[in-house]
């Protein structure tokens, strides 16, 4: 009988070997069964205890992961903006060519551009560009009258303007603003009148330019939004124009010679919302959203632990029976 007990115990030890291995306990012989049992129970309880926080941690980690993935790159692309202007009063009409730097074929050709003409903005990939001016109708391959290079940075806007008198014509690169102070409009003045060599511009109760010489450009200035009477005064002539300057908009006012008088051209450089809403938009009520169920993980772990503990129980039961027999 003693012998049989020993054999039975050895057999059961072999069966429970995987449990003890799981529990990290040495095979029987060295350690008593109570220790093994305690280890198995401890493991099972430990698993149950760990399951809930581990499951919730895993869920929140995956949520955080998807959230981080959704915060993608900003909307800005690799594009910048470029516009071309002819602001030299006594220079005849020109053809304006825009080349990507080093590429001999023109990206854009503006034909017969006359004084006072400003093109719309063209979205172009960031990089170096060459702007060339030729007399209107001159062959595309002829030597340009004037050329300059401009480096377009992504997300920035530029005006390339032919400025000055015909004798001293130059291509000037102006950096155009794309951000306004909150609740303000931005305005700058380009003085392109040759008749009135110096002009003073007032609007919105402030002087935007005082004695601005021909072919000069002011910096942008913040102006309170509203519809303002813009007054331009030269030594001999003056002009008035009502101009709406909304918050969040950026303007360039060009003082031009009209035959015999001054005029003001109001260019809209950029426009955004007059009021910036705070935060995000609440545009969903959830009727189509997935509603997460409670995670099955804790229950699975409970089930597994129960199986483990039951196995241990069955083993102990058999052993005790064997011992009694």
């Amino acid at each position: 009988m003693r012998r049989r007990t020993r054999i039975a115990r050895r057999a059961s030890a072999a069966r429970t070997g995987w449990i003890t291995r799981l529990a990290g306990v040495p095979r029987p012989g060295g350690v008593a069964r109570p220790a093994r049992l305690a280890a198995v129970l401890g493991l099972a309880l430990g698993l149950i205890g760990l399951a809930a926080p581990a499951a919730s941690a895993a869920a929140s980690a995956s949520a955080a992961g998807s959230a981080a993935g959704s915060a993608a790159a900003p909307a800005g692309t690799h594009l910048g903006w470029l516009r071309l202007a002819h602001l030299s009063p006594n220079t005849p009409a020109v053809d304006v060519y825009l080349y990507s730097f080093g590429d001999p074929s023109a990206m854009i050709v503006l034909k017969h551009v006359t004084y006072g003409t400003v093109s719309g903005y063209q979205a172009v990939p960031s990089g170096e560009y060459t702007v060339a001016m030729r007399g209107a109708g001159a062959p595309a391959g002829s030597k340009p009258v004037l050329s300059t290079t401009v480096n377009v940075v992504a997300g920035k806007a530029y005006t390339v303007a032919g400025m000055g008198p015909a004798s001293g014509l130059r291509l000037q690169i102006l950096k155009d603003a794309l951000v306004t102070p909150p609740g303000k409009a931005l305005v700058r003045i380009i003085q392109a009148s040759l008749q009135e060599h110096k002009v003073t511009v007032t609007a919105a109760g402030k002087t935007l330019a005082r004695g601005l010489p021909f072919a000069a450009v002011t910096a942008y200035q913040a102006v309170s939004p509203g519809t303002w009477n813009v007054h331009v005064a030269g030594p001999t002539e003056s002009a008035d124009q009502r101009i709406a300057l909304a918050a969040g908009t950026i303007h360039t006012l060009v003082v031009l010679d009209d035959p015999g008088r001054l005029t003001i051209d109001n260019l809209m450089d950029a426009a955004g919302s007059r009021l910036l809403p705070a935060g995000a938009a609440a545009t969903g009520l959830g009727g189509t959203a997935a509603v997460p169920g409670s995670s099955p993980l804790p229950w699975l772990v409970t089930l597994a632990a129960g199986l483990l503990v039951s196995c241990a129980g069955v083993t102990l039961l058999r052993r005790s029976r064997a011992g009694r027999a």
Binding site: P34, A270, S273, A281, L285, G286, A290, V291, G306, R319
Partner: protein
């Protein structure tokens, strides 16, 4: 009877007292009972867990919307200012959207007002008019409490697709989608959406990402960026 202290090791295996075996049996039954209880609990939990929660409503196929016809208003020149008419309706054939546009302002807390109905989109009246220079903003719901809203499929839009805005004078502004992004509401890109831009552009806004039942809000916004082509 309690376990003997382990200090008594090593002990002769053959001379274990009989009482130990009876303890083993009782505790074995107890352990087995515990195990079976845990199995039953786990199984019940699994069944309950399976029946909570709900899958997202599939996007399905959009209704067919014909491409609108009509004269495109000329692209405004830099000096035109706000010389375009107000927007009246929005047509996006790619995702089956055809809706009138309501007017949206700001809520008392300064956030973007959203349409009272989830079946229409709205134009934010403090943004430039669609087709005028600047970034015009149109918002609509992804869903109501019970089903899809007007911008349910906005998240499916791809660069190159067309967005049409019919204006009150009957003219049409045609936009080409350049990008679609999803942003956490906590990181909403206010300047990219509402800030000044030098060309006529459009932003379409709706919700997306994970829905938080606790707050009743989605955690993200889906924003489609488009630029005027004619």
């Amino acid at each position: 009877m309690p376990w003997r202290p382990r200090r008594r090791l090593p002990r002769p295996v053959s001379r274990r007292p009989v009482s130990r075996r009876s303890v083993s049996r009782r505790s074995a039954v107890a352990v087995l009972a515990c195990g079976l209880l845990a199995i039953a609990t786990g199984a019940c939990g699994l069944i309950i867990a399976r029946h909570t929660g709900r899958a997202a409503v599939p996007v399905g196929r959009p209704t067919l919307i014909p491409v609108p016809r009509g004269d495109a208003a000329p692209v405004p020149r830099p000096s035109d200012g706000e010389a375009v008419a107000r927007p009246a309706s929005l047509i996006i054939p790619a995702i089956g959207v055809r809706t009138s546009l309501v007017r949206l302002g700001l809520t008392s807390s300064g956030a973007l007002q959203v349409p009272a109905s989830t079946a229409v989109a709205g134009w934010y009246t403090f943004s430039p008019r669609p087709g005028a220079i600047g970034s015009s903003v149109i918002a609509g719901h992804i869903d109501s409490l019970t089903g899809p809203g007007i911008f349910f499929r906005l998240r499916l839009m791809r660069p190159g697709e067309r967005v049409y805005v019919r204006r009150t004078d009957g003219s049409l502004a045609v936009f080409r989608v350049t990008a679609r992004h999803m942003y956490l509401k906590a990181d909403f890109p206010t300047m990219a959406v509402y800030g000044p831009v030098p060309t006529p552009q459009l932003r379409l806004i709706t919700c997306g990402g994970t829905f938080d039942p606790a707050t009743g809000h989605y955690l993200s916004n889906v924003i489609v960026f488009a630029t005027l082509i004619r």
